[in-house]
Symmetry: C2
Subunit: 428 residues, 2 copies
């Protein structure tokens, strides 16, 4: 049997412990598939004493992940600590500088430093692999980078934050509002320590930026992702959308256009009969569209010990088998810094606002929309509970700039209470 | 730039022409991704003169695909002729014997000779790759063999014959019977020359046998696939199933059990709310279940020029990038000849039969079922159009042997007209 592949694992949370379990319990299966044994030689974590439900006594312990990454007996540094800066970055850089391969589940690290890390890795002939960073157990990086390598990708979409999808689908199922479901998700431990990473769309935006790079041959550019969280979505929006045959999803969309690279992670309306519309709970879904393959849809668990460890092990097995395509699908120095599209392609929009109960109020809004070139497809005005009434409008397909102009004009009117909510209706 | 990868393509039907177009039109993109140019050096097909909408004048022509496979200037033999015997097999063997890699879309070839071809390839250090053989444009081979390599697979399922799914979903949508939709599919060119390959489940059975091998580390065993076509499915079955919240699908299921390897390609009832139940028209879906990843669902076009060529090019790009894991996921000589499970795991069943209008007739059937250990969950008897009446039964979960015994006992009764139809209700 050929030389074992020796892992050093930094970070022994749920995912790290899951990886250790797989390597221990499936050693024969993994060796048969890889053609060589997979071994753990050393581990590192914050606390040495914590019971992680797995026997670590066979492995060397390192308090310092950087020291772990530099060990002579480590072939692959497995980074499962998280965080875009600090130890995770330092240890990853240390491993790459010594020409060691890195496997990571760290989307923030990749979203912020993907280009620099890829350059550093390629400089030493090493790879950094990150299947677990995007959409948990779904092998979407491999599908996009390898399986669809014969395609010019036309659009990549995804529901990639299970917590947001849980909150949105539970709002519809239970009739409870956003705040109640946010609390429920929090009590269930579904939220990151900084919940804005989830509900603000940042976590999902990191993932989209990584996919964009591979799909379009561009340098990872998280700053170019237009972000909008789900905090403004009301039960009324959910119900009205449902009534019109739509679901509201925190949807990532990336497209290369004549205007530049368009990357959005925003709440959108999608048809309830589409695979994206039918996605319930914490499950993730990625839609990959290419000029040859048309559309491939991948669905699976976006988080959890087993699924995330499965993705990490997929990368480890690839390295053991000598599978090492260019990190973002082509050499890092050939990735271009894409122009960021400042507007998105025309689409119909869903608008909700509160209209003051004044004569001519609706006419003023309609005029503002019309003057901006936004035409109304459907409109509903509800009974006046108070001095103002909710109004819902679905526009015809509108240019993004026209919609922005319309919203600005509406803002300037004296008949609208608060800010209008505008959600894109994505053609999926 | 490093050495080009030189292709010889045998078979210039829709898919072959599609591959030629991609290589011609995307040479820069492919070279950037692969790190080396992809070139076609020679082609072969039955007729040299046919207009295929693509310029072939740059390539050497070979009348004989075996001669093409043996050319010194061909690195990869791309087999797109089809058929499990004859030229496709001869040329593939000739290429492998010379240590040349092979890319094929030929599911019949793999289903019948996969093990022998894999042994021949590995003997020479060559690979045979076949992403396009299963589920068209969906990169399911790669996902299963590489992406989920850290999993012990527990079940693989799939709707992998678009024509059957087209017929079944159109029956429900239009209210037309099987024969009318069979004719429609035929007129649309959706059927193979021998339609039994489609509606008899053979084509989809080939695909399932290939997936089983990778999932469970067994030698491809198409003869071990329990096959049942869709020809007996009536509009009444479709409508009754719908009424109970189910859809009927030609569903492949493979599981490794204590009784051996279970492989079925049969019409099954699945919940209409499941991803499989929601699959409409000619689209394919594969469900991969592993002990770590839980469930990954892949959905995409199962046929057509672009999607199939996309899958072929995925394999070509892998070879260009040096991606060459063991052909069925582990060395061919380590694949075991699996015991074929002679029965399948217990499940509820849907039964339909015509009952003679005689006193005590239904009691006789109920007794026959009860004596065999099959208990009734739901039953419906319809108005008597004639001297016999349709009866539908959904059983509780029943052992396969018990159900077979019940069907035999029902056959021996003098109150049933024709043969009962029994469809498994799969827990998906």
């Amino acid at each position: 049997m050929t030389k074992p592949l020796r892992l050093g694992i930094a970070g022994l949370g749920t995912v790290g412990a899951g990886v250790v379990k797989i390597v221990r319990q499936k050693s024969e299966l993994l060796a048969a598939r890889a053609g060589r044994p997979i071994e753990i030689v050393a581990v590192s974590a914050r606390s040495r004493d914590k019971d992680r439900g797995v026997n670590l006594s066979d492995y060397a312990w390192e308090d310092d992940p950087v020291a772990l990454a530099k060990r002579d007996d480590v072939d692959v540094f497995v980074e499962l600590m998280g965080g875009s800066e600090g130890s995770a970055k330092d240890a990853t850089e240390a491993a790459l500088a010594l020409g060691k391969d890195v496997v990571t589940a760290n989307k923030a690290l990749l979203a912020h430093h993907g280009q620099a890390l890829a350059l550093a890795a390629e400089d030493k002939g090493a790879v950094i692999r990150f299947e677990a960073a995007v959409a948990g157990g779904i092998p979407v990086i491999k599908t996009l980078l390898e399986g669809l390598a014969g395609n010019e990708m036309t659009r990549v979409m995804g529901v990639m934050n299970g917590t947001c999808n849980y909150i949105l689908t539970r709002m519809q199922a239970t009739g409870q509002g956003y705040n109640a479901l946010f609390e429920e998700a929090s009590a269930l431990g579904y939220l990151e320590a900084d919940p804005n990473l989830d509900v603000g769309g940042i976590d999902a935006g990191h993932k989209l930026a990584i996919l964009s790079s591979i799909a379009f041959g561009t340098q990872v550019n998280f700053d170019g992702v237009q972000l909008q969280g789900i905090g403004e979505i009301t039960l009324e929006d959910i119900n009205q959308a449902a009534d019109m045959g739509y679901r509201i999803k925190l949807l990532g969309v990336a497209r290369m256009t004549a205007r530049g690279l368009e990357q959005r992670m925003t709440p959108c309306l999608v048809p309830d009969t589409s695979p994206l519309g039918q996605l319930e709970g914490g499950t993730n879904m990625v839609v990959l569209e290419g000029d040859q393959v048309e559309q491939v849809v991948l669905r699976g668990p976006g988080a959890g010990e087993g699924p995330t460890a499965s993705a990490v092990m997929g990368d480890v097995m690839d390295i053991a088998r000598g599978i090492r395509p260019a990190i973002f699908g082509r050499p890092a120095h050939e990735l271009v810094a894409a122009t960021v599209a400042t507007s998105s392609a025309p689409a119909p929009y869903y608008l909700r606002f509160s209209l003051l109960d004044k004569p001519g109020a609706l006419a003023k809004v309609a005029t503002a929309l019309g003057n901006a070139g936004v035409s109304i497809d459907r409109m509903r005005q509800y009974g006046h509970a108070d001095t103002s009434a909710p109004v819902l409008i679905v526009t015809h397909k509108s240019a993004h700039a026209d919609l922005q102009a319309a919203l600005a004009a509406m803002d300037a009117l004296d008949v609208i209470v608060g800010k209008p909510v505008a959600l894109r209706i994505e053609d999926v």
